[in-house]
Symmetry: C2
Subunit: 455 residues, 2 copies
């Protein structure tokens, strides 16, 4: 029984696997900030060297941004292409971190040990679960049980500017029987899932200009239009009192949940008040009449991710500012057209603008939602392997976040993706104090070892 030997090896080698992950977590590969571009390069180099050490033909591929990493293993049978990303989110506000973000540590908590540090969950810890599974197979049997290729990108947290051109140019090399993606979470804390529905994303940054310079509100207050007032009014009008987004045609292409999926989600026993209670809230803020899982997985959203204008320092300054700005994002589902959503948003903002104000737009990310065709036999084999490892029936689920890569593999390469991840809702990804449960890491490695065997 090779698989049992491989699982035993994974258990015995756990400390070494953790040390390798720690090395990768120490590299400050923040992709959105040009100051860290050498670190992004160093993370790619680290991965190339590590993959070579377990027999992959691995190389760094330059782009106009951060490099891709491509690797091919020797093997036969089913061919899988694994995707992950080695870049991480910015770390501000730094003063809220309990330990430095790039000095990873194992910390004991009431719920078990965790790996603490930026990227531990999103996505370095997750991608290393797959690499370690390959390493274990190689160590125990001298080979991989199937044909494995690997593709890592370094711009996932900064809008993936190089991804689509790269995938178009290298579609043949990226094609396999199925794509494996490890950048998602468990269906429930103790129940694994395969994500088959991913929300898309439209990001927009806007700046409204009113007066040509900052004014004194004593002298001009009343007569001069304040761009913050314009911005507040236009953004407030994006939601109605029922939590629905008001843009023209926003819900075009938003499907109702199939009855079968709705029933499966019902059985997951998701409690909105527990989910929200962990972050100090209690009432779902989305569309009235939609369940909590629908609100985070299968319904579209609009959020203001940042807003600024006027005097924001200590004390008080009665300025009537020249400019006010905001960053806004939309999460898309089903067949919503991202370009149409962007156009509708811009039309809404322009319609709200007084004649003597200006508005400037810049786009950040534009991707539709993805839905996988789960009739490929690999899906059911992987679901059974996950169920074996976690001893809970694995489910096909949705994901609120945007992982455009799955859609790109569908449209550009023509392959379906299985999104299998081991993150928890409280991993604080994109926040201070990101962590990854030690159990997620360890059982994640074991899960992939089983899936490789099953395929």
């Amino acid at each position: 029984m090779s698989l049992n030997n491989v699982l035993a090896h994974i258990d015995a080698d756990q400390d070494n696997a953790l040390n390798r992950l720690m090395d990768l977590l120490r590299i400050e590969s923040i992709s959105t900030d040009p100051a860290y571009s050498d670190a992004c390069d160093a993370a790619a180099d680290w991965l190339v060297d590590d993959l070579k050490s377990i027999g992959f033909d691995a190389s760094k591929r330059p782009t106009t941004g951060h490099p891709m990493v491509m690797a091919h293993g020797v093997g036969s049978g089913t061919h899988v292409m694994f995707y992950g990303h080695y870049d991480v989110q910015p770390v501000d506000p730094l003063d809220l971190w309990h330990t430095p973000p790039f000095e990873p540590q194992i910390i004991g908590t009431p719920n078990g040990k965790v790996i603490h540090g930026r990227g531990s969950s999103d996505d370095k810890g997750q991608l290393m679960t797959f690499v370690e599974a390959c390493r274990a197979w190689k160590a125990v049997t001298g080979e991989l049980p199937i044909k494995v290729s690997i593709f890592f990108e370094g711009e996932e947290e900064s809008g993936s500017p190089s991804l689509v051109p790269y995938m178009k140019e290298n579609a043949d090399e990226l094609r396999a029987d199925v794509t494996l993606i490890c950048d998602t979470g468990m269906a429930r804390p103790d129940t694994p899932g395969i994500v088959t529905m991913l929300r898309g994303l439209v990001g927009e940054e806007i700046t409204i200009t009113g007066p040509s310079r900052d004014l004194h509100s004593g002298m001009y207050g009343g007569i001069a239009m304040n761009p913050i007032r314009v911005l507040n009014k236009a953004l407030a009008a994006l939601h109605d009192d029922n939590g629905r987004v008001t843009l023209d045609g926003f819900y075009d292409g938003v499907p109702e949940l199939p009855e079968q999926v709705a029933a499966q989600w019902q059985s997951l026993d998701f409690k909105s008040d527990n989910f929200l209670g962990e972050v100090g809230l209690q009432n779902p803020a989305g569309e009235k009449g939609r369940s909590g899982l629908e609100q985070i997985w299968s319904r579209p959203t609009c959020d203001v991710n940042g807003i600024w204008g006027g005097y924001t320092g200590d004390g008080f300054k009665t300025v009537l500012p020249s400019k006010a700005s905001a960053k806004i994002s939309f999460r898309l589902v089903g067949q919503q057209d991202p370009q149409k959503i962007r156009d509708a948003f811009r039309a809404h903002m322009r319609a709200q603008l007084p004649a003597d104000c200006d508005i400037a737009f810049s786009g950040h990310g534009l991707s539709g939602a993805s839905s996988m065709e789960i009739d490929h036999p690999a899906f059911e084999k992987a679901r059974v392997a996950l169920t074996d490892e976690w001893q809970k029936e694995a489910a096909y689920v949705g994901c609120g976040g945007s992982i455009p890569i799955a859609g790109h593999f569908q449209k550009i390469v023509g392959t379906q993706s299985m999104l299998i991840g081991f993150g928890q809702d409280d991993d604080n990804i994109h926040s201070p104090n990101e962590k990854y449960d030690l159990q997620s890491f360890h059982k994640g490695v074991r899960s992939w070892a089983r899936i490789l065997a099953a395929l």
Copy 2:
């Protein structure tokens, strides 16, 4: 003719007067920022020394904040108490200044020479017009024509926390026949005015807290309430479509303009489109059906002076933030009760708050509007003296800014204030590139010399 000799001396001494003002402008007396408190003290010392040099019994009076300056001259007849403030506004954004804010310079412009630097107009340049007029009388005649006292404060730009306690404790010493205040502007660019209506101010800072920490909008977007959304909606609801403020009882105590004053204002030939055109706007943003002068002088307002929340750096971060904040101010007129306005604002914000969000308030300034009783004969004498100097009929006007000191003199000391100033609308007070016209300074000194003679 002593007055003519005094005016001739002022003309001859202009360069020296400018050099003295430049010395005072170099002192970085930003009162709202504790880092500059030594500079505030130095500005007070400078004024005490200068007033002593022209025969005043001057001294610095400590407070729990920045010190007051009090000075009494020798003289008989009418007793005037002159008020000004030696503190200045912060200087950010520093990169918009053409020359450093605390390195004052004389700069030639198409409209004549100007004194460029923070405080040149608000209020160091203005207060020195009065000091120089006293100096000239003293130099030419050896004495002041009437009894003159002087009172400078150093916290006007930071809410004057020490002012009311100080005035209550020293009401007898502050009492004179009439108070003179030089912290306002010309009625029109070439027409002097005496301000008899001043708007009050209520300043509020708020922070709305939603989730207990910053969240990832992919994971929580839709179900978790975003405090920026709450803030936008609550602030947007402060104005209706006609530019009116919607707070309960906001217009209680707002008087209609007396016909006589309305007629006088009509004759000032104020053009909203010219006034707004100078700052890149064209349409009055205040209450529909009110003239431009009403909107800036006699109608109450609400402005958001600052707003911030979420990710505001370069690039894009799909954060769903824990907190969102804003600074809001109201300008009050007539008998509006500042405490009632504050209460109504806080009630409005609380009513807009979802059950699981919190809001914290902090107040910055709370003062009602002031209206002067102009039947004291000093008013008409001063108006004639101003008309003589500027060769344009001086007018009784309103002022959009909040100068609570006039109300304090009315209520605490029991004296009426004449607000006479020489600032121009384009002086950029509270903004980068503050300036004071050389003509404002020079004719300002001459104006006070005439007013001292007339009283």
